[in-house]
């Protein structure tokens, strides 16, 4: 299989979350992290989940990843219910979660080696392709502690994309980075997404970030975690996080988010 063939297979998938509920017991108290959440995501769509911390958006991501199972409801990719983690849904975690005992290249190879149907030289070719895509071509043999925070997240992105998943799940991947690095990564992620057209679910608590990246911004409320509102973002790409149009959208969503927060305070 050539690199081009490998990249062409496994097109992005449609995702259907139906009536998903999940409760946790923390300190003897039952917390409803997710309450009958329903969400449909189209092939190749970039959806941002936004909400205050504790609204269950990360829990939803973990359920889609198959790392946790819902108390109620189902998650389907292209009509097939998910059972546990799978290569068709890769996750990019907040603190990179790269393996410190491997160098950058071997980290990207980790998932590829577990993917059947490729020869080792093909796997290496794929790894080189993605490392180039994220701009790390000259850091194959670098150790992780030698990378900056932004470079680590680039490596994590390469690792998550390398097995060619149909859906990419991103859990606040840029939250720990400085503003300048983040801006760079917004640009890169948009470019990469336009090139590879994965379905992306992106969790963040940063409204501007969500508006900058997403086709759609889904607003969560907390206690219980529910979807409150959705916003289509029709701005042209590539988007600049500092543009006035983007700021206007973000302000509108922010107002609405604050409204929901006040509401939930009144209820409690």
């Amino acid at each position: 299989m050539t690199l081009q063939q490998e990249l062409a297979v496994s097109p992005s998938a449609k995702l259907a979350v139906k009536g998903v509920s999940k409760a946790f017991r923390t300190g003897g108290e039952l917390v409803q992290a997710l309450d009958r959440v329903t969400l449909n995501v189209n092939e190749g769509e970039f959806v941002c989940l936004v909400g205050p911390s504790g609204c269950g958006k990360s829990t939803l991501l973990n359920i889609i990843a198959g790392l946790e199972s819902p108390d109620e409801g189902t998650v389907q990719t292209d009509g097939v219910p998910i059972r546990g983690p799978g290569r068709d849904r890769m996750v990019m975690f907040q603190d990179a979660a790269l393996f410190p005992w491997l160098d950058v290249f071997s980290n990207v190879m980790f998932g590829l080696k577990l993917k059947p149907g490729l020869s080792n030289s093909e796997r290496e070719e794929v790894a080189r392709y993605y490392l180039k895509l994220v701009g790390l071509d000259s850091f194959h043999r670098a150790n992780l502690h030698e990378l900056s925070g932004g470079m680590k997240q680039r490596a994590a992105l390469a690792r998550a994309m390398a097995p060619n998943p149909r859906i990419l799940l991103m859990d606040e991947p840029f939250a720990a980075l400085d503003a300048l690095t983040r801006e760079q990564l917004y640009g890169d992620l948009q470019r990469i997404w336009q090139e590879r057209r994965k379905t992306i679910i992106f969790v963040t608590h940063n409204v501007r970030e969500a508006v900058c990246l997403g086709d759609r911004v889904v607003l969560f409320s907390t206690h219980p975690g529910r979807i409150r509102e959705e916003f289509k973002i029709a701005l042209p790409r590539p988007r600049d996080i500092n543009s006035v149009d983007l700021a206007e959208h973000a302000t509108e969503i922010m107002q609405s988010l604050k409204g929901h927060l006040r509401e939930s305070e009144v209820h409690e």
Partner: protein, 265 residues
């Protein structure tokens, strides 16, 4: 290069100081032989061919002793590792094992491993098995405890990340949990080695075993014969082996970890 030079000068000064104290004749040369006489002992027990009329009866003796001791140590150490690693993983993974095996390991690790010598002798007699048992007991518990805490300290996000990439069971253990706990495991292996080495020396000094005279026995006979040059000579060899083991067995791992994890320096 500068570091090597510093070390060489340090040990040269140490030797000189030793020689000066001996030359001052504060203590009897029987109690404190000079570096030269210790050197003569080492020569006589290694390469010295003796004369044509009287060939050296002790030629190669030191190497034989080292060989026997290292065989006992190596075998016992490997058994201790082979048993300790899986037991440590089980202890880390299952609550029931933590409450039983974990407590046992903690207790027995606190027991100075030389305390196993009397029991081992009564069980196995004056045999190689007795020696082996002491070494295994010295190694095992340190390795169990280090592996346990290593596995327990693996960041769960590594396992989650690996699972999303399709890693399961044995693959996760071998490719994620084991390497992630490597820093702990290596320090446990090091401690296990130190305990095994100490307990084996104690056992060899206590017990004469006819199947082979190890370094401990050589040391013991030095005392019996009032041969202080032999006592000190064997001690020097024991120290040297300890240093060598550290450099050969553990330093490569530690260097790898420093490089990868970016710890220290």
């Amino acid at each position: 290069m500068k570091r090597v030079l510093t070390a060489v000068i340090f040990f040269a000064v140490l030797l000189a100081a030793w020689q000066i104290v001996v030359a001052a004749r504060i203590w009897s040369p029987v109690l404190l032989p000079g570096p030269a006489s210790v050197g003569r002992f080492l020569w006589a027990y290694t390469f010295s061919p003796g004369t044509d009329e009287v060939p050296n009866p002790n030629r190669w003796q030191l190497f034989f002793a080292i060989g026997i001791t290292m065989k006992r140590l190596g075998l016992g150490y490997l058994i201790g590792l082979a048993a300790g690693l899986p037991l440590g993983m089980i202890t880390a993974r299952f609550r029931w094992a933590q409450d039983t095996l974990g407590v046992l390991a903690l207790g027995l690790q606190g027991l100075p491993s030389v305390c196993w010598v009397p029991l081992s002798l009564l069980w196995f007699g004056q045999s190689e098995t007795a020696m082996l048992f002491v070494v295994v007991m010295g190694t095992l518990w340190s390795v169990v405890l280090a592996t346990e805490s290593g596995v327990r300290n693996v960041n769960p996000i590594y396992v989650r990340a690996a699972r999303t990439m399709g890693s399961r069971w044995l693959h996760t253990w071998l490719k994620v949990i084991m390497p992630a706990s490597l820093p702990f495991i290596v320090s446990g292996m090091k401690q296990g080695w130190a305990f095994a080495w100490r307990s084996l020396m104690a056992a060899e000094i206590f017990v004469t075993i006819l199947t082979g005279f190890g370094l401990g026995q050589l040391l013991h006979y030095g005392r019996e014969l009032n041969a202080m040059d032999q006592v000190i000579g064997v001690m020097v060899v024991i120290v040297f082996i300890g240093l060598l083991a550290d450099k050969v067995l553990f330093s490569p791992w530690e260097r790898f970890m420093h490089r990868r994890w970016g710890t220290s320096k």
